[in-house]
Every structure is written in C-alpha cells, then in structure tokens.
C-alpha cells in the first residue's frame, strides 16, 4: 500500500519549523513547560477578569465583554493546551465550523423567537389576568 500522509499530515510538520522546542521533524510536538504555565497563568488572570468585569456597569456591553473574555480563554485552551497551533489546519477548521454552525442555529432561532415571543407573551398575560380575575370573583 502506498499511502501518502496527505496534506493534513504534512502540514503538521510545517508547523514544527517555527518552533524551537523540538529539533526533529518526525517526533511529536512537545509544548515547552514554560509556555504551558504561561497560558495557565493567563487563564487564571482572565478568570479573575471575568468576575471583576461584573462589578463594572457597562449595560449590554457586560455580556459582550464576558463573552469576549470567554472566547479569548477558549482560544488559548484550543491553541496551546489542545495543540491546535501546531496541528493540522483541518482540525482547526472542524472546530471553527462547529462553532459557526452553533452560531447559525442560535442566530436563526433567536431571530425568530424575538419576533414571535412578544405576541405569545401578550397573549399569556391576557390569559393570566383573565384567569386571575375569574378567580378573584
């Protein structure tokens, strides 16, 4: 059998070049401890930042800020802890695509529910009130 190691696998090796920890092109990519620890420290700091951010009143921007910090943390975990920075780009594409499809799903569902919920709620309030009145009498 003459399998080739496909573009995906080859890209794996290209990733090695810009990295100093390992001198070989065939071994595993080993993330240096210092790098792991730095990422860990940043993650902890960002966790404090998330909590801290709730004490600042930014209105709707609070949610955006919390999510932005979460995305940064997630990106760090993916890139370094999960080795995505040195991994096949396709694996990254899989990750990004899954997030994109979640966003698509949420986007449409939210767009739709935003439009019909006020009507439904108004009807519900009416029902509740008429029930309450009926019960009151």
């Amino acid at each position: 059998m003459s399998h080739t190691t496909t573009p995906d696998a080859t890209d794996n090796h290209n990733g090695h070049k810009d990295h100093e920890d390992h001198d070989s092109h065939h071994g595993p990519h080993v993330v240096p401890f210092s790098m792991l620890f730095t990422i860990f420290a940043i993650l902890i700091v960002l966790t404090f930042a998330t909590v801290g951010a709730t004490y600042v009143q930014l209105g709707d921007f609070n949610l955006a800020l919390a999510l932005a910090i979460a995305v940064v943390k997630a990106a760090l975990v993916c890139l370094y802890f999960m080795h995505l920075r040195w991994d096949s780009p396709f694996n990254g594409l899989v990750l990004v695509a899954s997030f994109a499809f979640v966003a698509l799903f949420i986007g449409f569902a939210l767009m739709d529910s935003k439009a019909y919920t006020p009507e439904v709620d108004a009807a519900a309030v009416e029902m509740i009130q008429s029930d309450a009145e009926a019960a009151g009498q």
Binding site: M1, S2, H3, T4, T6, D8, A9, F90, A97, S98, F101, L104, F105, F108, A109, M111, D112, S113, K114, A115, Y116, T117, V120, A124
Partner: protein, 606 residues
Amino acid sequence: MSTTTPPITPPSSPHSPSSSGGGGGEVNYINATKGIKSWMFTVDHKRIGLMYMVGVMSAYGLGGLFAILLRSELWNPEPSFIGGAEAGTTEAMNNAWDFYNQAFTLHGAVMVFLFIIPAIPAILGNMVLPIMLGAKDVAFPRLNLLSFYFWVLGGLFFVWVLSKGIINSFYPGMIEIWGPGGLETGWTFYTPYSTTTQNSAVVAATFGAFILGFSSILTGLNFIATVHMLRPKGMGWFQLPLFLWALYATAIIQILATPVLAITLLLLIAEKTLGVGIFNPALGGDAVLYQHFFWFYSHPAVYIMILPALGIISEVVSVHSRKSIFGYKFIAISSLAIAFLGFLVWGHHMFTSGQSALTNAVFSLITFFVAVPSAIKTFNWIATMYKGDIRITTPFIYILFTIGLFTIGGLTGLFLGCLSTDIHFHDTYFVVAHFHYVMMGSTLFAFLAGVYHWFPKMFGKMYNVFWSNLGGIIAFIGFQLAFFIQFIAGSQGMPRRYASYPEHFEFYHQVSTVGAYTMGAGMIIVLLTWIVALRTGKKAPANPWGGNTLEWHTTSPPPTANFHAEPTAEEPYDYSGWKYVSPEEGWVQRTPEEREAARQQLGTGH
C-alpha cells in the same frame, strides 16, 4: 445512444446451474473465517456492511408492513380495518384511530431512523468506501463495529415500543403492568403533544432514536477520517469517486446535525420524566423552539438520506453509459453545496407553525437556492448520458427511475418552498407525496440501483436480470400509482395523518392503496432475486460493468484486506483501460498499447 460494441450486460440465464457458492476455493472476506463469532466481532468493513444490510433490510420490511397496514386502513373513508366500524361504537372508533396513529408513526420512525438514514452510508458506504480509496479498512474499524451495535440497540428500542403497542392493543390489561407502548406522536415527536400524551412510549422511542444518532455519528466520523487520511498516493480530492464526495458531504451533515437531534431528544426525555418545560407552553415553554431544534437536525437529515443516493446516480450513470462523468467538479462541489444549504433551510417546515414572517421569508428564499446544486447534478447526469454508449443494465434502469422520481420530487418541493402555496399545501397529502418522491422514490431506488451495481462485488454472484428488472418496474409503477395521485388529493385539501376522510377522496385513496400493494409486490420480487442470486447465482467477474473506480480492480468478492496487490489510483471515470471479454470474465484491463489505440479510436484524448 449507440449500442454497437461491445455487447450488453451479463446474460440472464435464470435457471442455469451456478458455480457452487463460496467462490471456488478462492479466499475472500466472506469465507476467510467461519463461525458466528467471526461475524459478530469482526472489524472488517465489508462484513459490518453486510450485517447492516441484514438489519436494515429487516427494518425496511417492518416499516413496509406498517405502510401496507395503514394504506389498508385508508381503503374506506371510515376506519374499518382494525377496531371495527361494524360496531360503530366510540370505543371501537377510538381504537381504530389510535391504531392508525401508531401505524403511521412507526412507519415513519422506522423508515427514517432505521432504514433510510443508515441504508446507503452504512451498507453500501461501508462496503465500498475503503475499497474505492484503495485502503484496507476504514480509519477506525472498531468504532465501525460499535456503530453497528448502536444501531442494533436503537433498533431494539423501537421493536420494544412496537411489541408493547401491539400486545397492549390485544390485551389492554397489559398497560397497567408495563405501561403504554406504541408511538402515536408522528416521527417528529412534536411538543406539546409528545410531552403530554400518556398513550405512547415516547421516552423509549426517543431514547432509541438517540442511540441511533450515535450510530450515525460514528459512521460519519469514520468516513471523514478515512477519506482524509487513507487516500492512496496520486488520488487528490478531485480524483475521488463522486460517490465518496457524496458520502463525505453526508458525513459532514451527520457530524454537525445529529448531535442537535441528540440534545433535542434528551430535552424531550427530560420534559417527559423530570417535568422540565422548555418546550411545553403549559409550563411557560416555547413549542416553536422545539420545531427549530428538531428541524435543525431533521432537515439536514433529509440530505443525509438523499445525498448518498445522488452519489450512486453519478457512479452508475457514468459506468453504464461508458462515458466519463460530465462536469465532475460541479457534481463534487454541488454535494458540498447541498450539504451546506441543507443547514440553512430548516424553517421551511415551520411556515405555518407560528414562525415569524421575516424568518419565513428568509427560509423560503434560501430553500429555492437548494434547487441550484440539485439541478446542476441532474443536468450533468443527463449530459453524461448524452451520446454515451449506454447499456440498459439493471442498475441503470433503477437509476433512470431514480432520476425521474427525484425530478418530480424536487420540482414539487418548489411549491412547498413557496410561502403562499405552502399555506395551502401544508400538512396535506401533497407534502406526503413530495417527500415520498424524494426520500423514498429517489433514495430507495438509488439504493436498489447501488445494490445491483455492487452486488457482484459484494457477493461474487450475478443475479437474474429479467426478474430484477421486472421487480423494479413493478415497484416503480406501484410507486407512481401510490403517490402521484396523492399530489392531486393533497391539492384538493386531503389532510395527512387522518384515519377517516370525506367520501369524495375515496377514489384517490383506493388507487393509492392499490399502488402500495403493487409496490410491495415489486419489492418482494426484488428481495427474492437477491436471495436466489445468493444461493444459485453465477459467479461474477471481477469487473462486470467495466467501471474504473478502485473496487473494480480487485476480485469479486474482495479478500479481507481488499486487494491482493497494491492498487494505483487512476482517473475514476476513464474507461479506456478496460475491454469486454465475456460474461464470465467481464471486463479486463487493456495493455497500454491497446489502450492508446482505443483512445485514438474514440478521439478523446482523455
């Protein structure tokens, strides 16, 4: 359509004694090891495919049985088949209606979850995908086996639900002992009905579907990894056979959509068991949200059903027209385009469900875009046949049926995608007819075409051409009888999912029921041809059709490791390398000189 040289098809000799089974001592994947354990614990993709075939075809039989039952129920305007209109009591009528509801639900659920979704990827995909890649197996053989057992487990849940329903209807006292059985929610499990009905085993059925989802995911995961990692040297993405493009696009949908079904069903189970009320309006929940959840999976799932079928069409049309596929890249990319667009149109199931006007418009618009890649494929198939050296083989006949049915199903879809007409057609027999044309007409006939195309490769046996063709033709006629008239009934306002109907629809329903019986007869003939071929079929040549994808480069049936010698990847649709010898030997490879001469003669410097 020139049918000059070389002669057509392997001959049909129905009663000629066959060469004995087992392939004359040659070691292949079927006879390599013996005993039940060697099958149950096999990790060979071909054996797993065969096990899937047995299971999925049984499920098909079960679903078909329900179809026959409910069409029988619809023979008369009043329910009469079971329950008994003769009594005319309310109780008898309720029984009959309840039976009908359970019959159509289980017909839908079994057909969708147990048959159509796994049919082509799990049977034919498992069988030929690694061979087409020149690989020894799929990337994760053990996960592949696990996928089969998930399928079995999920299937058992359905059988459990089913048997309970049947036994309960005969011995109502059993309900108190083991709870309700059967399923009467429709295969879509719409809330709030599914969360409030006390009359059916929703939890068991949804859990079964949940497990089947894992089976589907594992198959998709395997196919993606296999296509990525196990392509042979020289096979770039655009040398991939089109069936593999279709399976790859399908796998993407399986990966991205099925988990949403899983969480939907989990939520439904939570609603039933814990009283969570996210979807239940009585608890302040949102019933339309359930439909978003459900169709985010289930619309792409329609493409899980149809895309592999389209892939089979591409293979069969090209091979049996002896002509390189027209517009290879367009067909390949259109598979991905359909997969992608499939995710953007789920709202067209909800036009009348209280979805907002803006969302309706957006989904309607995107729905029309699906027509583009579908039409690209159809035109390219026609163009492939044009001036081809067409052989009217059994697979080719089935493929012609498929293309016809797919066209009708696709075009009627436009009526349903259009907002204004959909209001009228929604939940009528028009919809029933439409999706049977697409899901069943196209997918089933393409699946049968695929089985007939690869049957020689899978089993090393040839089937009886006459009876195979006859079974297909009868099934096709039955299908048209059963469903075409439903377009008319639907446009006149016959709603779906009712056991009784106004008298003036009686004619339509009776024609439809006759069609269903006819189709059933055709399918029985088809299944019999397979069984007879397995027992007494003539030995198949390695390459009975002259195909050039890699599975035709190995013996029929292949050895356990698929190839005796390492195959080299070629252009999958270049047929100049093969010449026809005889029915027994099929097509054999030309020497390079002969090949050059053939090319000169054809005038296509392919």
